[in-house]
Symmetry: C2
Subunit: 566 residues, 2 copies
């Protein structure tokens, strides 16, 4: 039998994974990986951490754990496949089963044959159609060279003022990195919230406060129309539709676009990314695609939403699925949750599954809740407050999405939620999982379970609550009385900025019901609305039927508060 020839285009994440796995499964296969760049198999996700100074040698991103450089030679020697760098794929000839390639050093072209072709062409940073992107001191952040030169130039030129264009995940990481480097950082985002498309506005608002507390200047809801420079061709400012922001340097991170040109030109089905089946096969069964060049599907099949979420974790999963399938073993890739997480100073921020915005756009009949509280028992020093927002489908009570934000350990809860969404679990399932409990790690009822309970209660009409925006809206219309059920000293320290607040500590509520008017809407609250919920139940049992509690309590309130009653 002739040797199986597998050609892989792209050498960053999905490519090397496919090739390595395939050589372990089929040692006799002839596996070749070509890459346009000279670097291969680098950890692009680590770039902001190099800029931050987390590690000092950029080579850490291209070396193995024990310090071996992941070069062409390394892969040839340890994994047994061939790597050709500085070589670009020009055209796929599906009829001849060859790929025309161009060697970038020499300009020579040649044709490489394949039995199976793997497209792992990745994604590229989106270049917005504005003038000035080619000025000096303007960076994208997708390649080790970008991070290395940024750090070098900060030192060499003494750069002091940075503007981040885009408030996505990379924007968050880079803003923190540059603040840690001592720069003044302004972040400009076209949408009127940070992490658009990733978080809902209420959760984003909570994170924005934390960014501002850490000296990130936020300019939201303004569109960047161009970058201006001096006579030396260096950037001097970022112009938005409303102002000019001085800048010694600019980092642009406004999204990634799939590199699907090659696939499109070959007539493969594409729709904002290469379309693949569960085996990562394109519309040509001999051509596979994986990583940042493909569009994924949401794991929840009853929602069936295409999702373009370029991530190294998914790229590796694709690689394994592709290698297995080429080797004759079907291990279909079931889809993604659209999970994303980011550290933003002391906060862990992320989401898995659908946001409220997405659910609404998809026409899903959902219920949602925001819970706030500590991640560990309150007597543990490491206990930290955070928010969880959860969405469930009203038809089947399946968990649709979870967002976390705050200083508490949200990453762990995100992973549990991601698991539940993967398996199609309901709110009741999520609350019943036997999670690992001990005081250094969590309270006896884990926050993610508490949040699922509260959402269950809301869907069952037991918990009646309003989120901070709904509450604010009613306050703005002066249509409502707030009932503060906290203790007197809590009330003394911090008040809601509103004139119609009645203050009755929860423990006195049952005896003082006569102090509460019955002819108006009432919104109860406390610090995290645990007591607020209890108060709502007490009032409802006493015949008050226009009562709600405020989700997340005043801790989740992103608007003004009066400290010390000022």
């Amino acid at each position: 039998m002739a040797q199986l020839r597998v050609l892989i285009i792209g050498g960053v994440a999905c490519g090397p994974k496919t090739a390595s796995r395939l050589k372990r499964l089929c040692p006799d296969a002839d596996v070749t990986m070509i890459e346009r760049d000279s670097l291969i198999s680098y950890g692009a996700c680590g770039l902001p951490y190099y800029v931050e100074g987390e590690f000092l040698n950029i080579n850490a991103l291209t070396h193995t754990q024990v310090g071996l450089p992941r070069t062409a030679d390394f892969f040839q020697r340890t994994k047994g496949f061939k790597v050709i760098t500085r070589t670009e794929a020009i055209r796929i000839h599906r009829d001849k089963k060859t790929v025309a390639v161009k060697h970038l050093e020499t300009g020579e072209t040649s044709e490489l044959p394949y039995d199976k072709l793997v497209l792992a062409t990745g994604g590229s940073a989106f270049r917005p159609p504005i003038p000035g992107l080619d000025l000096k001191n303007v960076w994208f952040m997708t390649h080790p060279e970008h991070a290395r030169t940024l750090v070098e130039e900060i030192k060499a030129q003494g750069l002091e003022t940075a503007v981040m264009v885009g408030a996505g995940l990379i924007g968050m990481e880079m803003a923190e990195a540059l603040i840690q480097r001592g720069l003044n950082v302004t972040m400009v985002e076209m949408v009127d919230q940070i992490l658009p498309g990733i978080l809902d506005k209420d959760i984003a608002a909570y994170v924005q406060t934390h960014l501002e507390d850490n000296d990130v200047e936020l300019v939201l809801g303004e569109r960047v129309v161009g970058l201006d420079g001096d006579e030396a061709g260096r950037v001097t400012s970022v112009r938005t539709d409303r102002r000019a922001i001085p800048a010694d340097c600019v980092v642009v991170a406004v999204g990634t676009r799939p590199n699907d040109e090659l696939a499109k030109a070959a007539g493969l089905f594409c729709d904002r990314g290469i379309l693949v089946n569960e085996n990562c096969q394109t519309s040509d069964p001999d051509i596979y695609a994986g990583g940042d060049c493909v569009v994924n599907r949401f794991i929840n099949k009853t929602v069936a939403q295409p999702m373009y979420v370029p991530l190294g974790s998914t790229a590796n999963k694709h690689g394994r699925t592709i290698a297995n399938h080429i080797a004759g073993c079907q291990t279909p890739f079931p889809g993604i949750n659209g999970t994303g997480v980011v550290k933003a100073f002391d906060y862990t921020v992320g989401r898995t599954g659908l946001t409220e915005t997405m659910a609404r756009r998809l026409g899903i009949d959902y219920a949602s809740i925001v819970w706030g509280g500590p991640d560990r028992p309150h007597y543990m020093k490491k206990a930290r407050y955070f928010l969880i927002k959860m969405l469930a489908d009203k038809r089947d009570r399946k968990v649709l999405g979870v967002q976390v934000a705050g200083a508490g350990d949200g990453a762990k809860r995100l992973d549990v939620a991601a698991s539940t969404i993967y398996y199609g679990g309901t709110l009741e399932d999520l609350a019943d999982i036997d999670l690992a409990y001990a005081p250094p790690f969590s309270p006896p009822i884990d926050p993610i379970a508490v949040c699922a309970h509260v959402l269950s209660n809301k869907m069952d009409g037991i918990a009646r609550c309003l989120n901070v925006y709904e509450t604010k809206e009613r306050m703005d219309r002066k249509e409502v009385i707030l009932l503060d059920v906290r203790e007197p000293d809590e009330n003394k320290m911090l008040k809601m900025a509103y004139e119609r607040v009645v203050h009755i500590p929860l423990g006195e509520l049952r005896e003082r019901l006569n102090e509460i008017p019955r002819d108006t809407d009432i919104i109860t609250f406390c610090k995290i609305s645990l007591r607020g919920y209890e108060a709502q139940r007490i009032l409802q049992a006493a015949g008050f039927d226009r009562v709600w509690f405020m989700e997340g309590g005043h801790e989740a309130w992103p608007f003004e508060l009066d400290y010390l009653g000022m």
Copy 2:
């Protein structure tokens, strides 16, 4: 309609949860909770952390987050149910539907009627049948008073030397707490490993090294036969079947037994705990039971193993199920994983699901693997090494159990594994979950996914490997050659203590195959056996058929190693 009378016996975890939830669902119900003790609703899991000095006021365990004491009056006022403390249930009269109770202050008895009865009688520390347990300076650790007096007496008497009897979860926590208090700590355990019944021996061995590194003296495989004291009645030593260990103080933590006497006397079905159905009903449908007095079932119904795992997290879940069912809403409790976690100095140690020991005893045809590696990308400062051991069912590839140990964030991986076991997921599922990836939290392929992949590979015959005990056994019989595929400087720093080691760096292996004998068993290894696995595949492809890699690499090796080749 007559008012529903619900009587709850026990006021620590399941009791207050049931009562609070029930009053929210059925405000009109007459709910009474009785408790033998004067304290109610305390966080017993926090006791070791008080001893450690994590918090200074023991009241934190009986107060709410905002500092309100959870007294009888507190529950009456905020939750609306009645609490009677210092009152013991003597006998259940199922025919009359009453409970005879004794008021411990006055000695008076009376009868309390019920429509629904809830047994939340908890568990008690097992008192081993040995002399000396009543000596002064001997503590059990189940009540805030125990922790408070221990700390008080350490200071007052200047106690310096502690012996922990039992190396279970509480033993771990207490050993660390006492070391932090500056005491010398010896831990005695009847079984020849720590955390028996919780961890397998290989994982336990890995943790033992860490305990010893933190100055805990381990005495394993010795049975305590008695405690000796001085003429003042103070403990002076712990006698085992082989030695006497001096002790200023002793903490005994050798397990918990369910308080099921009341249930047994009432003729309710019990078998090492009260037996309940999914609604937490006992064999009398008007009598519920929950918390540490009941025996649970393993969530995986194809295994169907009763499990006695007393935990505050489970007690709260039972409480919710009971309250819901009484209120007319079925939310069956599906069972537990037997999840347990503990912080042991810098290590996070725990398990969910079955251990290998349990699987073997149950006659399950399982496969298992030990994986070791960092919890984050190696370039991140917080990256820490840890071990994951995973078991899967050979019939259906469902994940059966996971153990973690090490400085890495094992708690998060345990929760993901617990979720997978809850939902009946396979190894492939576990590896496909869209977990939250960013460098501060995890590598692109999460360790739990890598571990699932390796076990998959092992079950498919692609990865051939031996655990450390199997490796050691063959080394002891001198039946094997070890193939070290690390780099030269790694080999110089640290060697396996064995005479038949061949050293060929992975990158040279394909060219130097002729240096490896073909007539003997070969076990490959590196630091974590990632390269060891690659080497096994290379050798197998080259026709070596007696080759395995060592699971977890030398990092997982609990036996002697030669540092700097000494």
